[in-house]
């Protein structure tokens, strides 16, 4: 049966307007990053499906947002290149969302909007990308943020390792507390919100090079809510950091240098899981230097320390919070650890990088 030219053209137009039902490609190809039809399908069928919201769905060149009047804004960015991309306790997508959410939270901000940029390696399994996008969607909903803009690039096979994600985020600061190293005073207490080193060791073990078997899971979680609980419990909070790469040791060493005060830690008070301690012993790694993705370190004035601790412990993500040390005038610019053994030692920033890509 022959069709007229008119009929064929009509069929094409109909097909072009039909909503896509499925991304048919099994693997990411260079075409998915070329900005054409394949890119459009990928964006629609993966990113809009998992991360969509009225702002993102508009697919404009920029998101237009209404900032709350009079609020200060916090703005940050974070790249995720973790290997392996899926690990016990999380994956690269969840990490990409939580990383930026937590950076905003440490500025005392309520996270609102994220952007996400993807660099994909040609040949990446499409199903894997979908799982990552789903996980980002779930993490964004959990943290109460929306992804309002994004970008996708595909590079030739061998030019990237699977999948990299860069997120940027904006949050608003609704209170007047000024968090900075300059507010820290001798006598302030050092608080950590829970067990340290979980993420870094979970990744090390998940890489499989060590032939260790553990039940360790990454602690990746959004901690803006925990931080908000802390900030509303006391106005004595001076300074907040999330101890990611470089661990608790590194953020405190930076603090000591920045405020020219000493930080003295009590080794016996540090919350560390037995599995983390054990794996660290075997590998010769100090848990103080191992990354966390769902913890905060707070410096709180002595008068507010107990209410801060209680507020943290009342939150599911802060149940193991502990006061682990104190700020002192001496020695300036240095972190000391009083060992459980009865001695003391310096805790400095990490030299070099013995650890593989962990975030």
């Amino acid at each position: 049966m022959s069709r007229t030219e008119e009929e064929v053209l009509d069929a094409i137009e109909k097909r072009r307007r039909r909503p896509h039902v499925k991304l048919m490609d099994k693997h990411i190809t260079l075409a998915h990053g070329a900005g054409g039809r394949s890119s459009h399908t990928l964006i629609e069928m993966v990113f809009l499906k998992e991360l969509g919201n009225p702002v993102l769905d508009g697919l404009g060149d920029a998101a237009v947002l209404q900032a709350p009047a009079g609020s200060r804004l916090a703005f940050t960015t974070d790249a995720s290149v973790v290997k392996p991309r899926f690990f016990p306790g999380g994956d690269i997508g969840e990490l990409a969302v939580n990383g930026t959410v937590n950076d905003l939270a440490m500025a005392g901000a309520r996270p609102l909007w994220l952007t996400a940029s993807f660099i994909l390696e040609e040949g990446l399994d499409t199903d894997e990308l979908i799982r990552v996008a789903q996980s980002m969607g779930a993490a964004a909903r959990r943290a109460g943020v929306t992804v309002v803009a994004g970008d996708t690039k595909v590079v030739e096979r061998g030019m990237a390792d699977g999948l990299y994600i860069t997120t940027a985020g904006v949050g608003v600061i609704d209170h007047d507390t000024n968090l900075s190293a300059a507010s820290v005073r001798p006598g302030d207490r050092v608080i950590v919100s829970g067990s340290i080193g979980d993420h870094g060791m979970a990744i090390m073990v998940a890489r499989g090079d060590l032939e260790l078997e553990t039940d360790l899971r990454s602690d990746t979680a959004p901690i803006h809510d925990l931080a908000a609980a802390l900030l509303s419990a006391t106005d004595e909070v001076r300074w907040l950091r999330d101890p990611t790469r470089g661990g608790v040791a590194t953020v405190l060493a930076e603090l000591a240098l920045a405020c020219e005060l000493g930080v003295v830690l009590d080794e016996a008070a540090l919350p560390i899981k037995d599995e983390v301690n054990g794996a660290c012993e075997i590998l010769g790694i100090d848990p103080l230097y191992v990354a966390n993705e769902g913890k905060l370190v707070a410096i709180v004035g002595a008068d507010g320390a107990n209410s801060a601790l209680a507020a943290l412990r009342a939150h599911p993500l802060g149940a193991d919070a502990a006061i682990v040390g104190e700020v002192r005038a001496d020695p300036p610019g240095m972190v000391l650890l009083e060992t459980a053994f009865g001695g003391s030692r310096v805790v400095d920033m990490l030299a070099g990088d013995p650890l593989p890509r962990i975030c």
Partner: protein, 375 residues
């Protein structure tokens, strides 16, 4: 953590420290050398010196395997690694050791295929998985790590793996101790003996220290209480006028050592006539090379190794640190041009190196000690 915390008890440490203080003769100064870098690390990491009376000084010895490798051997390693057909495998600490022109990490950035392994058996696995590449393992260490290299060589032979070889830099502890005892710079009163080396070689090889030099040695473990108890046992011997080999680390070390490990070493390796140690110079019969039967797996036979002797950097005083003649902070470049981020000498690289341990952990205690000395 069970089996670890018991050896770190502050309560027990305080009691032991009191007993040690009770053994000090007034007016006498005690210089005890911990031979092994593992001890140095534990001493600084746990602040063991804070518990000792001022009269007892711990001097750091030569037992850090990374520290004693001379620059020429590191240059050789990099020359092997730069060959495009080679996958060069090494323990992590060796990656950052400075050679004449950068470290293995720099070589990696320039394109060398350098991979960190935790065991020579990992290197052998890489060889199995990459039959079209040549895999070289950079073997370093005292008698502690030598058996695992030996076992790997035996396995390579049994499995007929032909694309694997070992660049052997294994050294032996006894000649190094003897060289330190013969050095006129030091006046030691006793040794904290290396625990893990002794699990392999046993206690007998140390007898010459007591017999010929009249000094006590106590083989000790690596937890801080082990070290403290080792100090106590040395002090007890000194107070009773004894000079014996004693074993604090009896939960691990057998008097006869580990005959199986020793046999594996003897099957695969033999003593070199001489070997250069960083800072200590050439020491006769102080290192091992592969036996002729294993030439096929010997990187020095199979590959072109420059083998050029390179003088240590002039400013570097690693030699004096390794002999315990100076403290890390007394080195001219310590902490200024030589830091863990940009090391000049090997002692600043390895976590077992005295300089790295002192820089990373001990800086504050050192300052207190020096201030006390000034007062």
């Amino acid at each position: 953590m069970r089996f670890v915390d018991e050896y770190r008890s502050g309560e027990v440490a305080r009691r032991l420290a009191e007993q040690i203080a009770g053994l000090v003769e007034p007016g006498r100064h005690y210089k005890l050398m911990e031979v092994c870098g593992g001890h140095t690390h534990a001493i600084y990491k746990h602040g063991v010196e804070d518990l000792l009376p001022d009269e007892i000084e711990l001097v750091h010895g030569p037992g850090c395997p990374v520290c004693v490798i001379p620059m020429g051997r590191q240059d050789d390693a990099i020359a092997i690694a730069m060959d495009p057909e080679v996958i060069f495998t090494t323990f992590g600490d060796m990656l950052r050791v400075p050679a004449s022109d950068g470290s293995l990490l720099d070589a990696k950035a320039r394109g060398a295929d350098v991979r960190m392994v935790y065991s020579p058996l990992d290197a052998l696995r890489i060889a199995r998985e990459n039959p079209d590449r040549e895999v070289v393992f950079f073997a370093i260490g005292f008698e502690t790590t030598t058996p695992s290299t030996a076992v790997t060589l035996l396995r390579a032979r049994d499995e007929g793996i032909e694309n694997f070889s070992v660049f052997a830099n294994h050294v032996t502890i006894i000649p190094a101790i003897r060289s330190i005892l013969d050095s006129p710079d030091l006046r030691l009163q006793g040794f904290i003996g290396p625990g893990h080396v002794s699990t392999v070689i046993g206690n007998k090889p140390y007898e010459f220290i007591c017999r010929d030099y009249g000094l006590p040695i106590v083989v000790s473990g690596f937890e801080p209480l082990d070290v403290l108890q080792g100090v106590y046992m040395i002090m007890k011997q000194l107070s009773e006028g004894r000079a014996e080999v004693e074993n604090q680390y009896s939960r691990v070390v057998r008097p006869e050592g580990n005959p199986t490990a020793l046999r594996a070493i003897a099957k695969t390796m033999e003593l070199r006539t001489t070997f250069e140690w960083r800072g200590l110079g050439f020491i006769p019969q102080s290192a091992l090379k592969l036996r002729a039967e294993f030439a096929q797996w010997d990187a020095e036979v199979r590959r072109r190794v420059p083998g050029i002797r390179v003088a240590d950097p002039k400013a570097c005083q690693c030699g004096e640190v390794l002999k315990g003649v100076i403290k890390p902070w007394q080195c001219k470049v310590f902490g200024t041009s030589c830091t863990p981020d940009r090391p000049i000498g090997t002692c600043m690289v390895s976590s077992e190196g005295a300089c790295a341990a002192y820089y990373n952990y001990g800086r504050h205690a050192g300052r207190r000690t020096r201030e006390a000395a000034v007062r």
